[in-house]
Amino acid sequence: MSKVFDLKGSLRGRFAKNLRQNKEKADSRASSSPAPIPKKYGSDSDASSDDDADYPASYPGSDDEEVAKGEESNPSSTLLDGDFLEFTSGRPLPLTDRAKASFHMSILNDTLFLSIINVLDYSILVGIDEEKNELVVGIIDFMRQYDILKQMERVGKSIPMVVGSEAPTIIQPPAYKSRFITAMERYFMTVPSKWTAL
């Protein structure tokens, strides 16, 4: 397994690099958030800002702190959404049609289940095995419920939100779910084979 990504579907502060920097100088947080997607793939960064349009600045909060807390144990290795886009050059990762189908179904089932039990903040762990050309995936961290505290956090985090920064990861479960699904659609794509039914 050459790389492991922890994907949440939001680009805000989700660079492993950023995390390390943030730890060093916490002040630079706001400026580092926009994803530095390479210029030549401008179309993809458009796509991600489309996503932001779906989740305007009224979704407050930032996962910077949360991520910094949550993943600083392994800052050098588990990579985040931003790194994923960098790794794939902003293009979706190709999956075989069958893999993508079951992946998609699983995502739908799991996120639906989790949003029904009012859980959010889960992420998907994607390990890429380049030798076997295989992804090993699993949804993790699904133990956080959207409760009063979380609502407070949401309000609290809305204050430092700057216009133009990425959507935060703390939002209501259904919104979290649809953002998650959209992001997964954007990150992974089907590659049709000869036998793919259209």
Binding site: S73, S102, M143
Partner: protein, 774 residues
């Protein structure tokens, strides 16, 4: 495989070529560059309006999907492949778009449906552990031999002086000799046992490989083999601490005799000429001491009289347990946050029992001593009685002996040792009262306080090294399985609890309740076990069948019947598992256990609450098995087997860097790469407890109804409390045990001292073994 068209557009800032000929800003131009010839092979030309009406996607498809087409550029002698070599450019104004072929290797997605036990890994691990035990134990035996040697020569030296009774010295020497023989005996037994366990496992394994290549874990030889290291360590611990006790008594006797010698010499120098037996007041305390230590030696000897070194049966429960336990367990039912303070240590605990057999001269000296304490005269004698008091407190075996009888054990196997203990004399309260003087009680309390630092004993005992680890005094679990506990590894606490007798009985109670409530369901879990065992039997018989060279057709048909029958059984088992997974009753199991030191003082207390025990057990049965196979259905199931292996996995884990999790909580991974033990917050636990029925329902759909899911399965949720009375440290944490999410080759991300880049791969067995063995 066919190449696929990457329909990826790369809009690009216009290059120099784009604006070489800017005739009209709004018209689209196209040109082709050949990557093989490294030049532009079709010059820039404008796209006509008619062309612009065609489908652009179709155009690209035709250009790139066609493997055989070549670039049509005769003027440049370029006949390269259109598909792989051409780069199509389209430009307009200052913009240009480039299209080229790129081969895509689509990924497969690996979804883990089963998480089987990695027997090979554990075998390697066990072998390493056994090696470690071999080495450390021979080292330890060596140290004991040395200790015995020096003590023997010390004792021999005492013969020079006539002060001490030669029969006492003889007793000491013979005792030393006995211990020496025991050391040799134990060493040879351990070696032969390790060899025989390994051999029987190996030969069994060979059998298994020649027959069926999988699924033979959990059978008796494997069990014996895999549990052997810790069993052996516990055995060695109990054995060697007994030696330590005996040697300690001997060393004490010798040192007090030496004192007597010294004092008598002093007295003789001081002008007194009665060198014979020092009846003088001065040496009285020391004489007491000698007599006491002889007495103690005798008692210890009695306690260990039937201690069979050869009896290294895996079932044996060598330690006798303090009777305090039985009471405290009852206290605990209410004791949620272990607020129970250290029980006020009762002085009886450390008093010697003066049995009927006490020598007359012992009693006499005792009386003398009590007089002395009231009226101390000479300085050396006072010091002597102090030492005496302290030594007295060191005397544990009687505690043991008195406890052994009253210990009410739930364990199915009682070994000989407990019965030995019960045989030794237990004192009547009056006798005890007689033995304690008020001053002595206070003094002993103070002594105990200082002894808590454990300096004094180190001189007279041999350090047990690795055999001291893992809290070997804890009760063995069901079937005598020894599961060590390491304070810094929560998973070991869970493992110990899951294997315990108490857990088993509480678990059974929950199962029974469920069966009663769902009256319609006749076959209980017992029935299920039966089913499983029947499945196994069939599997075995089938194996035998396959070995027999000739088989008639009828036999084949019978086998087919058997297979279909076991298929039916399997679906029954499945239904049973599903039902148990969907039980909505709370089936939490709370298990408290304690560790005691050799004096019976409680030194640590552990509480492990297993939430939703039966449901999670069902989850584990559905998930932690081998892949389903037609060959031997039924065999892939097996409640005990899966649970045993689960415990085995949890038994050794490696912590991630200390920080982690949302609240700076810990993360650890079992060394066999199967599970992550993750700390969760109280709120997360609460959330899970609320949603657990939904979770189980969801999982049952995934396991039994083909619902695709990628949820990282949680296979157990626990709350672990731990209070170490020696360090005063107490913790309470909630953990979730879940599958390792990124397959078997997941990396452990640690800021590790072992590697520079902070990544260690846990499949390197040696590193992990080092950690868990040292």
């Amino acid at each position: 495989m066919d190449g696929h068209i990457p329909v990826a557009e790369h809009p690009k800032e216009a290059t120099d070529r784009a604006d070489t000929k800017d005739e009209e800003k709004d018209r689209y131009a196209t040109w082709t560059y050949c990557m093989n010839c490294r030049k532009v092979v079709t010059p820039l030309s404008y796209i006509s309006d008619e062309t612009w009406n065609y489908s652009f996607g179709k155009f690209l498809e035709l250009s790139f999907y066609n493997k055989t087409a070549s670039i049509n550029a005769p003027e440049h002698q370029c006949h390269c492949q259109l598909q792989v070599h051409s780069t199509l450019y389209f430009g307009c104004g200052n913009l240009a778009a480039r299209f080229s072929y790129e081969r895509i290797r689509p990924y497969n997605v690996f979804l883990r449906r089963y998480l089987p036990f990695d027997e090979a890994f554990h075998k390697k691990f066990t072998v390493l552990e056994l090696n470690e035990i071999m080495m450390s134990s021979s080292d330890l035996f060596e140290r004991f031999n040395k200790h015995i040697e020096t003590t023997t020569s010390d004792t021999r030296a005492l013969f020079k002086s006539a002060v001490n009774k030669p029969e006492h010295l003889q007793t000491l020497l013979s005792e030393l000799h006995v211990i020496g023989k025991e050391v040799a005996h134990a060493s040879s037994i351990l070696k032969s046992k390790i060899v025989s366990v390994t051999n029987s496992y190996n030969s069994y394994n060979k059998d298994a490989e020649s027959g069926y290549s999988y699924g033979e874990v959990g059978s008796a030889p494997y069990d014996a083999f895999s549990h052997f290291p810790w069993h052996a360590r516990r055995y060695l611990f109990l054995l060697t601490s007994a030696w330590n006790e005996r040697l300690g008594a001997i060393v004490q006797a010798v040192s007090s005799m030496n004192k007597v010698v010294a004092i008598s010499q002093k007295l003789s120098i001081g002008g007194r000429s009665d060198i014979g037996i020092p009846q003088g007041v001065g040496a009285d305390g020391e004489l007491d001491e000698v007599i006491d230590s002889m007495q103690r030696l005798k008692e210890i000897k009695e306690v260990y009289a039937n201690f069979k070194i050869g009896d290294m049966d895996i079932q044996s429960n060598l330690v006798s347990l303090p009777d305090k336990r039985a009471q405290e367990v009852n206290d605990d039912i209410e004791d949620d946050d272990f607020n129970t303070e250290m029980p006020v240590s009762v002085d009886d605990d450390i008093q010697i029992n003066f049995s009927e057999e006490v020598d007359a001269d012992v009693l006499a000296s005792r009386q003398r001593r009590s007089v002395k304490q009231v009226e101390p005269n000479l300085l050396p004698s006072r010091r002597g009685s102090e030492v005496d008091g302290r030594r007295r407190n060191n005397i544990p075996p009687n505690r043991r002996s008195k406890d052994g009888g009253s210990y009410n054990s739930q364990l199915p196997q009682r070994d000989s040792f407990a019965s030995i203990s019960s045989r030794s004399p237990s004192p009547s309260p009056q006798q005890r009262a007689k033995a304690v003087s008020a001053g002595g009680a206070v003094k002993s309390a103070i002594d105990r306080f200082f002894r808590g630092r454990g300096k004094e004993e180190d001189i007279t005992t041999v350090d047990l090294g690795i055999f001291n680890q893992g809290r070997p005094r804890l009760d063995p679990g069901v079937g005598g399985v020894v599961i060590p506990v390491f304070d810094d590894q929560p998973s070991t606490i869970i493992a110990h609890s899951l294997a315990s007798v108490d857990y088993e009985s509480q678990f059974r109670r929950h199962t029974r309740t469920y069966l009663k409530e769902s009256g319609s369901y006749k076959r209980g879990s017992a029935g299920n076990d039966e089913l499983i065992s029947r499945g196994i039997d069939q599997h075995r018989s089938k194996k035998e069948d396959s070995r027999s060279s000739r088989r008639g057709r009828s036999e084949q048909r019978r086998n087919a019947d058997k297979i279909s029958a076991s298929m039916a059984q399997m679906s029954n088992i499945k239904i049973d598992i599903e039902k148990r997974m969907l039980v909505r009753n709370k089936t939490h199991v709370k298990h408290t256990f304690r560790d005691y030191d050799e004096k019976g003082t409680q030194i640590a207390k552990f509480v492990c609450t297993t939430f939703w025990s039966t449901q999670f057990q069902a989850v584990r049965q559905a998930f932690l098995k081998e892949k389903e196979s037609d060959k031997a259905p039924g065999f892939t199931y097996g409640k005990n087997l899966i649970e045993k292996n689960f415990v085995k996995s949890l038994q050794a884990s490696l912590s991630f860097a200390a920080v982690g999790g949302k609240s700076g909580a810990s993360f650890s991974k079992t060394t066999d790469d199967r599970f992550i033990v993750k700390s969760i917050s109280r709120t997360e636990l609460q959330m899970f407890l609320d949603c657990a029925p939904a979770y189980f329902e969801y999982l049952s759909k995934a396991f039994f109804h083909g619902l695709p899911t990628m949820l990282c399965k949680i296979v157990g949720v626990y709350q672990i409390g731990y209070h170490n009375r020696e360090t005063g440290k107490r913790t309470m944490e909630q953990v979730a045990v879940m599958q390792v999410s990124c397959g078997c080759n997941f990396y452990l991300f640690v800021e590790s001292p072992f590697t520079n880049n902070g990544i260690i791969r846990i499949s390197s067995t040696v590193a992990t073994c080092q950690r868990s063995l040292t």
